[in-house]
Amino acid sequence: MDYNLIVPFIPNLRRYARALVGDRDGADDLVQDTLERAVRKFHLWRPGDLRAWLFSIMHNVFVNQLKARKIAPHVEIDENMIAAPVPTVTSVDVIDLQRSLLVLAPEQREVVLLIALEDMSYADVSRALGIPIGTVMSRLSRGREKLRKLMAGEVSRSGLRVVQ
């Protein structure tokens, strides 16, 4: 397989990595490691969806990085801290979207970004992350909901409840 086949996917890999990791250098390191691993694993690629294959490699590299050096601090939010629903704020990006994303559990963040940003199908996400479609759907709805509440200010990004 030719490296030139991979090059067209680099911009998407970088966009996804930027949203996933949060900072530019960390994200580009993730992309670089992914590309190198893809080159080493060329022989394992079977003609098919190259994009899903590349994202699955990035997922593996990301998981390894999380284990190795915790690239994105993840603040666990106790579901009990989340207050009762308040009217939806639709202009979600007025608040810092990046910080809110980083509060999501990495496995939820991956699913939300692959679907909302990369427009992947459930099947593609299931293949890329190596999880059942049902898990994709539950992580997506939990992730989206948490993101909505974060952006609406219902939970503070430090994980504390916002007191009116």
């Binding site: 397989m1 030719d2 490296y3 090059v7 680099i10 911009p11 998407n12 970088r14 966009r15 930027r18 949203a19 580009d28 992309v31 670089q32 590309l35 190198e36 080159v39 080493r40 060329f42 022989h43 629903p85 939806t88 639709t90 202009s91 979600v92 990006d93 979207l97 990046q98 939300v112 970004l113 909302a116 940003l117 989206r144 993101l147 909505r148 952006m151």
Partner: protein, 216 residues
């Protein structure tokens, strides 16, 4: 929230994510992502060699009329000869398949297998006696190896093969591989390589004797 509210909310999330991150798509790609580091340049090169090999292997039988692709990745003649020399010349009990005593049979047999009228050079005046020969596999099929030995037990091997498609006709050349010196040349029908763990001058002297006898 109702389903409708969910849909609106999620569309807003998608839009917000795109607004925030789509700029990355048009950022210039860092050079390191194109300019592969040496380590993975090696992988890429290896992968492309495999790809070329596969392509050639798959394409050749399908396109009989197509000109033969240059098979540059094939091990060059002097290296093949040097390796064959390293494998067989240390053999004490079975240095050859057919002994020099049966020279007529040896020459007939190997000529038939290579499809070439072979001549076995006589190197007595150079101090080397024929021990015999053997048949070896090569990229173009059968290869003949003749082995000679001098009074001190030093051995030379003469490797004779049909040149493969990518190999050009060459004049007399010298190569070294893994401690083995090789003089070789390729004419239009046949490639010859004389190998030995001897000094270059000695090998050159013997090789030119071989050359004179084979190429009249």
């Amino acid at each position: 929230m109702t389903e409708e509210e969910d849909r609106i909310e999620y569309a807003a999330q998608n839009a917000a994510l795109h607004r925030k991150f789509d700029g990355v798509l048009t950022e210039p790609i860092p050079a390191r992502m194109y300019m592969k580091r040496p380590m993975w340049l090696e992988y890429a090169r290896a992968a492309s060699l495999v790809a070329v090999g596969l392509a050639v292997g798959l394409a050749l039988p399908m396109m009989r009329k197509a000109p033969p692709a240059p098979v540059a990745y094939e091990t060059p003649l002097p290296i093949r000869a040097a390796r064959a020399h390293l494998v067989y010349s240390p053999e004490v009990r079975h240095p050859v398949e057919v002994d020099a005593k049966d020279q007529d049979h040896l020459v007939k047999w190997l000529s038939k297998r290579l499809g070439l009228p072979l001549k076995v050079p006589v190197l007595t005046t150079e101090g080397f006696e024929l021990l015999g020969g053997r048949l070896l596999p090569g990229p173009e099929g059968a290869v003949a190896q003749f082995m000679y030995q001098d009074g001190t037990g030093k051995r030379l091997t003469l490797y004779v093969t049909r040149p493969h498609a990518g190999e050009q006709v060459t004049a007399f050349r010298f190569a070294q591989d893994d401690g083995v010196s090789v003089f070789y040349w390729i004419d239009k029908d046949c490639g010859y390589a004389l190998s030995g763990e001897v000094d270059k001058t000695t090998l050159a002297r013997v090789a030119s004797a071989v050359y004179k006898q084979i190429e009249p």
